[in-house]
Each structure stands twice: as structure tokens, then as C-alpha cells.
């Protein structure tokens, strides 16, 4: 059985020791990082610190030295983002810090994406994400997108003020298996239901799993509207998307 002391990177050890509280998450992360090569741990540590320049440098260096792009993504970037998500959920860090980590993730992914795309590696699932019609708030949606991308999903960002027709057109174009809708305003929440109705009218409802979220949205509201799932925060969004991807497969 893996132990904390098996992890080479001192910063990662401290992060797990200091900030993780749920036994299953501690165990999973010790297991993960103890099998991950030290160079990947360094990438994860730089990402957790939100140091985009260091992530950029270390990712490039790892790829130049012949490390597989998928290993850099999974064992470095995604593993680091996992810790970031937990710290955010537990209010140890807040949105500015998450934004910095996402910027670091992006700095690493810019080296990895072209390689993965060339080699035809499939994402976990393809997700369409948009803030509903009449709503221009996007910070929550963007955090979800960062976490989803940081967990191996391909995400098409439809931006804000997205009409039912725009969701449908994008679904037909991108053939995504999951559609995520966000709303911050109580006045725009009902547009989630309208979009689901439009999907039914367009005979597309059975082709896609629908997840919803946003500050005023609740599980009860999501159920009433006929969504397949509700995510309370960015981390829940990722676990929900994983579940929906499995159910929809």
C-alpha cells in the first residue's frame, strides 16, 4: 500500500497532508502521486501553485525528453488540477487562485494538445457548455470548463446569452454527448427548461445528457426541468460529467 512518504515531491506531500481531509481522496491521491514519476509531480506542483511559466517550461522539457504527452497530461496536469479542485471545493482557495491554476493548465496544454490531436487520442467525452439566453454571467461556467478540460474532457464553449437554437445548432454541429447549461439569475433559470423542451421538439433529447448549474439552481429545480443532473460547483460538475458520460455511453 502506498504511503505519503513514497511521494518524491515535498510540496505535493504537504498539499495532501495539509489540505485533504476525506479519507478516500487522501488514499486516491497518495496512490496516484506515489506511482507518478518525479518530473510529473513537479509539473503538478507548479500547476497547483498557479505558476504558468514553470508549467510551460516543465511540460516542454518533459516532452522534449521523450515523455509521452498523455502521461504529462494525466500524471502532471490533470493530477495537479485534481488537488486544485478539492482545495476550491473546501474553500481553501478561491476563484482568483483557480483562475491562475487554469492559466497554468492552459500553458501546459498548449504543448500537449497538438500532439494528442495528431495521434487521435479520444477525450473522456465531448461537452457543450453555455450560459443560457438573457444571462451574461460566465465565471461559474468558465470554472466548470477549466475543471472539465483539466480532467480530460473536450469542451466547446458557447459563451453567454446562448439561445435554444444556438444550443441545438451547436449540438448538431459538434455531436457532443453532454450539454451543460449555466444561469446566475433567477430570471434566466427557466431558459434551461425551455432549452430542454427545444431539444425534445428537435428530437435530440435522447442523444444528449443535460447537466445544469449556477448559483440559484437547485437539484429540485433541475429535476423539475427534466435535466439529467445538477452540479453544485465546478468539482461536482466534473464528477457529474463523468457519470453522465458513462451512462450515455
Amino acid at each position: 500500500m502506498a504511503e505519503l512518504s513514497h511521494i518524491a515531491n515535498e510540496f505535493i506531500r504537504q498539499e495532501i497532508d495539509e489540505f485533504l481531509e476525506r479519507p478516500e481522496e487522501i488514499e486516491r491521491n497518495i496512490e496516484l502521486f506515489s506511482r507518478v514519476r518525479p518530473a510529473m509531480q513537479d509539473i503538478a506542483a507548479a500547476l497547483i501553485e498557479g505558476d504558468d511559466e514553470e508549467v510551460d517550461r516543465l511540460t516542454k522539457q518533459a516532452l522534449d525528453e521523450g515523455t509521452n504527452a498523455l502521461e504529462v497530461m494525466d500524471d502532471g496536469l490533470i493530477a495537479g488540477m485534481g488537488i486544485v479542485g478539492i482545495k476550491f471545493r473546501e474553500a481553501i482557495i478561491f476563484v482568483p487562485e483557480v483562475l491562475a491554476c487554469a492559466r497554468a493548465m492552459k500553458a501546459g496544454m498548449k504543448h500537449i494538445e497538438p500532439i494528442l490531436s495528431e495521434s487521435g487520442v479520444e477525450p473522456v467525452a465531448k461537452v457543450l457548455m453555455g450560459t443560457v439566453k438573457g444571462d451574461l454571467h460566465d465565471i461559474g461556467k468558465n470554472l466548470c470548463i477549466m475543471m472539465l478540460r483539466g480532467s480530460g474532457f473536450e469542451v466547446v464553449d458557447l459563451g453567454v446569452d446562448t439561445s435554444e437554437d444556438e444550443f441545438i445548432d451547436a449540438l448538431e454541429e459538434h455531436k457532443a454527448s453532454i450539454l451543460g447549461m449555466s444561469a446566475l439569475l433567477t430570471t434566466t433559470m427557466p431558459n434551461m427548461g425551455k432549452t430542454i423542451e427545444a431539444l425534445i421538439d428537435a428530437d435530440l433529447r435522447d442523444d444528449v445528457m443535460v447537466m445544469v448549474g449556477g448559483a440559484p439552481v437547485t437539484q429540485e429545480f433541475a429535476d423539475d426541468m427534466g435535466a439529467d443532473g445538477y452540479g453544485k460547483d465546478a468539482l461536482s460538475c466534473v464528477s457529474l460529467a463523468r457519470k453522465l458520460a458513462e451512462e450515455g455511453a
Partner: protein
């Protein structure tokens, strides 16, 4: 001021709100929403629909007055949104329709650096500012001293979201705290100017929404960037100030209580008693009836339970937690003052 066995003569709504903001005895707990009580039903009732009611002083005043005349609240608030100043500062706007709030297009920011921040010379004479100032004058003329007229001037943190974009502003706060402070320092001039102009127009108190919410930033952030600035507002703006921050805020309530603000308008994510324990008697609290789950989606009986929880915790001013959903039913809103009156009928003077 809790549970003083003191006989207080019957007060007007205005006297009641102002006394509660000063933490003085009241004849009964005032009902007040320092953000907005505009709803579609109320718009129809007085023919003052959005978006016009956000841009036309007569319509704005008519809709604001319904808080007092139709709902029985003790205050009126003519500013229904958080965008009037941002419009005057040059942000791109989406004024929307009757059933939605106007919003700033924050994905198209107007500023990037400290030097970009300019409060225009015509800031106070911009039509969207004049509209608010004229609406306040109309309300004062119509209601005299009967009802508390509360104005609204946006804090610099919220202006930062609008003018810099939420993500760039939050990233800047992490990358360059010094630059962020310099930006806040320039933007606060807009807060002060508009606040003082509303006092000239006749407000009794001002809400200062400044969304350093627990959903976005830490309590330490509030302390580092805003606590002193909010205390400065108290020194410069000579009416009671009500700070409004949405979301979970217990981790910053102690700092807020140190600013000298008259009151803090708090969200239902914070339990009334827990919040009162933190604030103690340093400032007043206003709130915190849940909007999306209770006022919008439930019934008067559910509203009543939340009002009672606040009364029993000793919250000095009762009202919705934030600007109420536009589709909220009037009967749910009327339940707030009804419950407050009934409770005082049974318990006498609580405060």
C-alpha cells in the same frame, strides 16, 4: 439593543428604518430590501415595466413606490439593478426586456490598466444617473418623511468586475495586488460622487453593493482590499450606509462590522443567529429571506418560517436577501411585513 423592555411610540416607516440602522429602539422591526423589490406583477400594477423603469425617472419612482404602497415595506429603493454607474462609465450594456434585469457585457471590458480609469466629467449628468437622481427627488416629494428612501451606489470591487471583466479583474488581484488597490482607489471616486449626489437628491441611506462574495474571494481578500476603503466611505458619505455582499460571508462579517457601516445586507447562505453572533451589536443586519428557493418558488407559509427565524435571532431589519426574482409572487412578499406585524403583536417590542 436586544429585548429592551422599552416602550417606543409608534414610528413612521422612515423613522423605524433609520432608528434600526442607528441600532436605536424601534416600535417594531422594519421590513426593508436595500437592493430591489421590483417584480413583473408590480410593473404591471403601476405600468412601469423593465427596461423602461431602469431608464425613465417617473417609471422608476412609480415602481419603487410599490414597495411601500403595495407590499407594506418600510423602505423604497429606486435602483433595481447594479448597472447605472457602469452605463455612465461607458460599459456596453444589455438592457434586456420586461422579464429580465439589465446587465453589463463584462466579456467586453472597457479598462485594462490604472491609467484607463477615468470618471467622465459628465458622469453625474449621464441620463442613467440623472434618472436615479430624479426618481429619488420624485419619491421624496411624494412621500415626504413617511418612508425611508434608500439609494444605491456601487462599490469599486463590483465596478471592477464590470469595467475590467470578472476574470481579468480577479486575476489582477492575485498577480498584482498593488495595481488592484490603485484601480480600486480610482474607481471609488465613482462610488463617492454618486453617493453624495443621491444624498443631495434626498436619500435617507445608501446601499453599497460591493460583490467581494464568498463564492469568489476569501474573507482575507475583503480585509486586504476593501475593509479600509469601506470605512473611508463611512467617513466621507454622511448618511447610514448598508453594505451588500451576496453569498456566504461569515468569514468576513467580523471585518465588515469593523468598517462602521450602519448595516450589512446578508444572504440566506448565512444563518441569522450565527451572523448575529459575529456582528454582535457593532452594526445592524438586514436580511435574509431566501430568494430562489423560498420567495420565488415556495408559499407564504415557507416565507413566514424564514421571517420568524430572523426575528427570533434578533435581526434588526427583515427583508429578502438580495434583489428579488422578477417573477416572485406578490403574496409571498406581503407575507414578510404580515409576519413581522403578527410576531410583534404576540411578542411586543422586541428590539
Amino acid at each position: 439593543m436586544k429585548n429592551r423592555p422599552q416602550v417606543v411610540k409608534e414610528m413612521t416607516s422612515r423613522e423605524r428604518v433609520l432608528a434600526a440602522l442607528r441600532r436605536e429602539p424601534v416600535d417594531r422591526t422594519p421590513v426593508c430590501n436595500p437592493t430591489s423589490v421590483a417584480t413583473v406583477e408590480l410593473m404591471d400594477l403601476v405600468n412601469a415595466p423593465f427596461p423602461g423603469a431602469n431608464r425613465d425617472a417617473e417609471a422608476m419612482a412609480r415602481l419603487a413606490a410599490t414597495s411601500f404602497t403595495e407590499l407594506g415595506f418600510d423602505s423604497v429603493m429606486p435602483v433595481f439593478s447594479i448597472i447605472q454607474e457602469s452605463s455612465a462609465l461607458g460599459c456596453k450594456m444589455q438592457w434586456e426586456q420586461k422579464d429580465n434585469w439589465p446587465t453589463v457585457r463584462m466579456s467586453e471590458p472597457i479598462w485594462k490598466d490604472v491609467e484607463d480609469i477615468v470618471i467622465p466629467n459628465d458622469f453625474l449628468t449621464h441620463p442613467d444617473m440623472v434618472c436615479v437622481l430624479d426618481a429619488i427627488s420624485i419619491l421624496r416629494k411624494e412621500f415626504g418623511n413617511d418612508v425611508a428612501i434608500i439609494g444605491k451606489t456601487m462599490g469599486p470591487w463590483t465596478l471592477g468586475y464590470h469595467c475590467f471583466g470578472v476574470e481579468p479583474f480577479l486575476l489582477m488581484s492575485l498577480d498584482d495586488p498593488g495595481k488592484t488597490m490603485a484601480c480600486l482607489d480610482r474607481m471609488k471616486e465613482a462610488t463617492i460622487e454618486f453617493g453624495l449626489a443621491q444624498i443631495d437628491a434626498g436619500v435617507d441611506a445608501l446601499t453599497v453593493p460591493d460583490h467581494a462574495t464568498g463564492d469568489l474571494v476569501s474573507g482575507e481578500y475583503y480585509k486586504r482590499f476593501l475593509m479600509d476603503m469601506h470605512a473611508e466611505f463611512v467617513d466621507i458619505i454622511p448618511v447610514p450606509l448598508i453594505l451588500h455582499i451576496c453569498g456566504r460571508t461569515v468569514d468576513r462579517m467580523d471585518y465588515i462590522a469593523q468598517t462602521g457601516m450602519a448595516a450589512f445586507h446578508f444572504d440566506s447562505k448565512n444563518a441569522p443567529r450565527e451572523s448575529m453572533d459575529i456582528i454582535r451589536d457593532r452594526i445592524s443586519l438586514v436580511g435574509n429571506i431566501n430568494n430562489p428557493e423560498t420567495l420565488f418558488a415556495k408559499n407564504p407559509e415557507d416565507v413566514r418560517k424564514e421571517v420568524l427565524a430572523n426575528l427570533e435571532a434578533g435581526v434588526p431589519l427583515i427583508g429578502p436577501e438580495c434583489a428579488i426574482p422578477l417573477q416572485t409572487r406578490i403574496e409571498n412578499l406581503r407575507e414578510i411585513p404580515r409576519t413581522v406585524r403578527q410576531w410583534h403583536g404576540e411578542h411586543g417590542i422586541a428590539n
